[in-house]
Symmetry: C2
Subunit: 235 residues, 2 copies
DNA sequence: TATAATTGTGTACAGGTCACACAATTGGTA
DNA sequence: TACCAATTGTGTGACCTGTACACAATTATA
């Protein structure tokens, strides 16, 4: 016998049409960092069932399109950016998760630098929301957001990816504020600096902050060419 | 305008039929532990394109079936077990990954105790393969296996899940052999014991191994009621 | 009763994490 | 121009964790 998957392409097409009743989508949790807050880019849902609720950016996957390609497309269409950090996290497949029928959705998160990306800010449908102030989202998007945030939190413990959220040059204070915003904890300044210098991820630009009402800090940029990730656990 | 996902159910069904051309499947990497080797349960593919190659156990997801439910069903059908550890890992969505058409597959791994499960061993189509000796699999299943193994490796560093691979009572040597098989490293016996007792995951059964040609070791069972996981990172 | 195999046990060193304080620098303001 | 507010830059000791490492006790077997 064998299951449906073990039939040939013609058999599958003719006998198993019932299986082609599921659509697949991607949803992107697009993280940004601004004013010391972790933010996520949301769009107002125009589904009647979710009147006026915000939702993640997503779209159906096209029949001739890779899954990863679909999420890159969503990002490109919505933000104009095409060189972004993107990571698949989890696939949500509850039968009734979407009112428009059976839609299974694969969640990705991406990290982008808001500073390079102001136009979207003024758009009416799109908005950067502080992650901490989001109480409800359309569909199961709140769950998706939480799952992606947890993944991000565990990922940054070992891997140098937060730099995608910062401008090219940044101070150690900005970097620490970012870690604190993502992890939701306060850290010791001296230990934070020590740890990062040991990681060898930072290159001193020999420049100072401008226009700060206090002693300016040095500016660094990310450079992991000779850095070392302690335990390279591929999740 | 809005994307397809933001239309109502009737609009989606009528206008976006093109999107319902993708089937979704689950593939299960079923891990077992036997003779000090980590093994995986495979089935002989009967697709012509993959003549005589082994593949993971999987099936198409039914339209009225949750994603998790589908993988539980595959396990129940193939092994008869229905109280198993199961974890979703990743979704593989390359356009040409399956010769039978556009099939996106979500990978799960599960941990089962081979000892409770000998019948399957004698089945002709199904076979337990040592993970280390697998050079090729049908479809992209080698990649799926590797991805699930890496996830398992990182998971056991923090979470007490390997017990699902062992009989209820086991010796510390068996437990250490299991960790070594999964992680592919040799460990120091004294440090291993110390670490596990500190974790407080083990309950002393006050019994000894039987029929071993050497000094018998104590038997333990898993009991995490008062154990502590160092960093509860939900992946 | 000797041998092979394995269990059960403690200590010392190295490295990492963590808490913690003070002088120096800048812009703003009285 | 002198002070104030804010923040940078810097080092050390306590503690915990990971790791390397050796020997007597126990069992089955020859």
């Amino acid at each position: 016998m064998g299951t449906a998957l073990q039939r040939t392409i013609h058999q599958l097409r003719s006998e198993d049409r019932e299986f082609f009743q599921i659509a697949i989508s991607v949803d992107c949790v697009i993280f940004g960092f601004d004013k010391n807050e972790l933010k996520v880019l949301l769009i107002k849902s125009d589904l009647e069932e979710f009147n006026n609720q915000w939702s993640l950016l997503g779209d159906l996957v096209r029949p001739d399109e890779n899954l990863d390609t679909a999420s890159y497309r969503v990002l490109k269409d919505r933000t104009g950016l095409d060189d972004v950090y993107l990571e698949q996290v989890y696939t949500f497949g509850e039968v009734n998760r979407h009112p428009a029928g059976r839609v299974i959705s694969t969640a990705y998160y991406s990290l982008i630098n808001i500073k390079d990306h102001l136009p979207v800010y003024s758009d009416n449908e799109l908005h950067w929301h502080p992650v901490n102030e989001i109480s409800a989202l359309a569909f199961d998007h709140k769950t998706i957001l939480e799952t992606c945030l947890r993944r991000l939190q565990s990922k940054i413990e070992e891997h140098p990816i937060v730099f995608n959220l910062l401008p090219e040059k940044f101070s150690l204070r900005e970097l620490q504020n970012l870690y604190e915003a993502i992890l939701g904890v306060k850290m010791d300044r001296r230990n934070f600096r020590k740890k990062f210098f040991l990681m060898n991820w930072l290159e001193d630009m020999n420049e100072l902050e401008q226009d700060v009402p206090h002693r300016p800090g040095k500016l660094y940029r990310f450079n992991a060419t000779n850095g070392k990730t302690k335990t390279p656990i591929p999740v």
